[in-house]
């Protein structure tokens, strides 16, 4: 490939990526006729439904992250320490949510956990929230597990565990005070991805009828002119911030390790 051709294709590609973002931001600013203003953002922020759905999604994201950490860290640790032969299998299983579309899984949830089933999760608000959180944890599992497993690769799990055990530590102490701090960066980057996924998720929340940010976005898109674009800009900034934080966290630790 010649240099000129490389530049041409790169610029063409970048134009394709930048134009929709410019279009989105421009539209979100043009609520007032003839001049740019933040009117659409003001309207969005003043909408009580925005605050409700946004905080609902934030709380759900944080709960999903906590649950994900509690589920993934001990599992990945245990597989590395005691069941290394099962690693390919567990890794394969954690990738399955990428294979099976979310709409299919949530369809299964609705049929499996309806009010007349053996585990009527969709019968109560709390139960449905719980089910949605499990669904989110499922969606973020591939990213969370990979991040933690990569983090565990950098430490000598077996030696650390033996050292802790010979000092009298139990399993809980080992995981909470030894493994978790050592893979904190990995856990953080997994958490940021989870946060971004949950904040933008639409299908599961819509089909389970929960008041999350994604369905609210879609609803606004069908009913309002300028507000949806302000919302989309906000959503993009959240995604961008989450990815930026991952980069930041990774870079900081690299400095940390180089300094030692």
């Amino acid at each position: 490939m010649t240099k000129a051709a490389s530049w041409a294709i790169l610029l063409l590609g970048l134009t394709y990526f930048i134009l929709p973002l410019v279009g989105m931001v421009e539209f979100s600013l043009s609520m007032r006729r003839g001049e740019y203003s933040f009117d659409a953002y003001a309207a969005v922020l003043a909408d009580p439904q925005f605050r409700e759905t946004f905080s609902y999604s934030v709380v759900m994201a944080l709960l999903t992250i906590v649950f994900g950490i509690l589920l993934v860290v001990p599992t990945a640790f245990w597989v590395r320490l005691k069941l290394p032969r099962l690693r390919p299998l567990v890794e394969f299983v954690t990738l399955l949510p990428l294979v099976i579309p979310a709409i299919v899984t949530v369809f299964g949830y609705i049929r499996l956990y309806n009010t007349s089933s053996w585990l009527p999760l969709t019968g109560t608000t709390f139960g449905t929230n719980l089910l949605l959180m499990f669904g989110y944890a499922m969606l973020s599992l591939p990213y969370m597990y990979r991040a933690v497993d990569t983090g565990l690769r950098t430490i000598d799990v077996a030696t650390l565990t033996e050292a802790a055990q010979s000092l009298g530590a139990g399993w809980f102490t080992i995981i909470a005070k030894l493994i978790l701090p050592n893979v904190l960066v990995a856990v953080l980057s997994g958490s940021f991805v989870t946060f971004a996924i949950v904040m933008g998720e639409f299908t599961m929340a819509a089909l389970l009828n929960r008041p999350a940010f994604g369905p609210y976005l879609q609803l606004m898109g069908a009913n309002k002119a300028y507000e949806p674009f302000a919302l989309a800009t906000i959503a993009f900034i959240i995604t961008w911030a989450c990815m930026g934080l991952i980069q930041l966290v990774t870079r900081f630790t690299k400095h940390d390790k180089a300094g030692r």
């Binding site: 394709y16 005691k82 294979v99 709409i103 299964g108 898109g221 995604t239 980069q247």
Partner: protein, 293 residues
Amino acid sequence: MTDLTSPPPKRRWRPSLTWLGLLPFALFIALFLVMPTMKIVIGAFQRADGSFTFENIAGLFTASILSSYWISIKISVASSAIGCLIGFLMAAGMVLGGLPRGIRSPLMTFSGVASNFAGVPLAFAFLATLGPLGLVTMFLRTEFGINLRAMGFNILSFWGLTITYLFFQIPLMILIITPALDGLKREWREAASCLGASGAQYWRIVALPILFPTILGTFALLFANAFGAVATAIALTGSSLNIVPIMLFAQIRGDVLGNPHLGYAMAFGMILVTGLANVIYIWLRIRSERWLK
């Protein structure tokens, strides 16, 4: 030596405890991934009373459902083929085309963000750009007198959806193909030119055959990615374009097909298509790793 290798009696009960450590994970997977999926698969072969049947599967072969699968497959093929091509060219330009090194890190970061920027917001971004009142649409009309609408372009259409999907397809291709392009060894190129090969010959006979499994595998992955995308499609087109995920969504919401078990069959069909695409991806991925280690 014998003391170390021969297991003490302790070992007899140890395996059961070891398995116990995976129990929470296994339970979670069983309850929220395997069982819901099995419910769909089994439901696809059941009547309302629970008896076994092929009727639901046969029901898929009606005109409206077949055409929705056909449109879905066409959009997925188009967006992954174009995504692969453009993503490959951009990555090749970045790795081999002599672009400044400084471009690489921002482009990879952006690819990470853009490949995650799907769903409802993405649909809005494209509505604001190529929709009836969008930035590009208006610009073309006022500056050049080009009326996209009159030329037959509509964002709520096959090409509209394809162009929108490219926003996450191209970055995904860049993310996957860049390490593969890095894996092309300089020696291969030198060896080829020593034997008198031109640049085009090197690509045709050496580089592309090595990259081919990765490219084809990524194509399969992008296909599955587009096939399962729901939110973008719904936010963009409402229900004006009958693709499989939108039809299934409507079916789950309110049984639009008049037969609840037809929904199971549609979902089962989706699993089949994305599952097959992913099997192809994994198989080709294993093949390509042989060369690119």
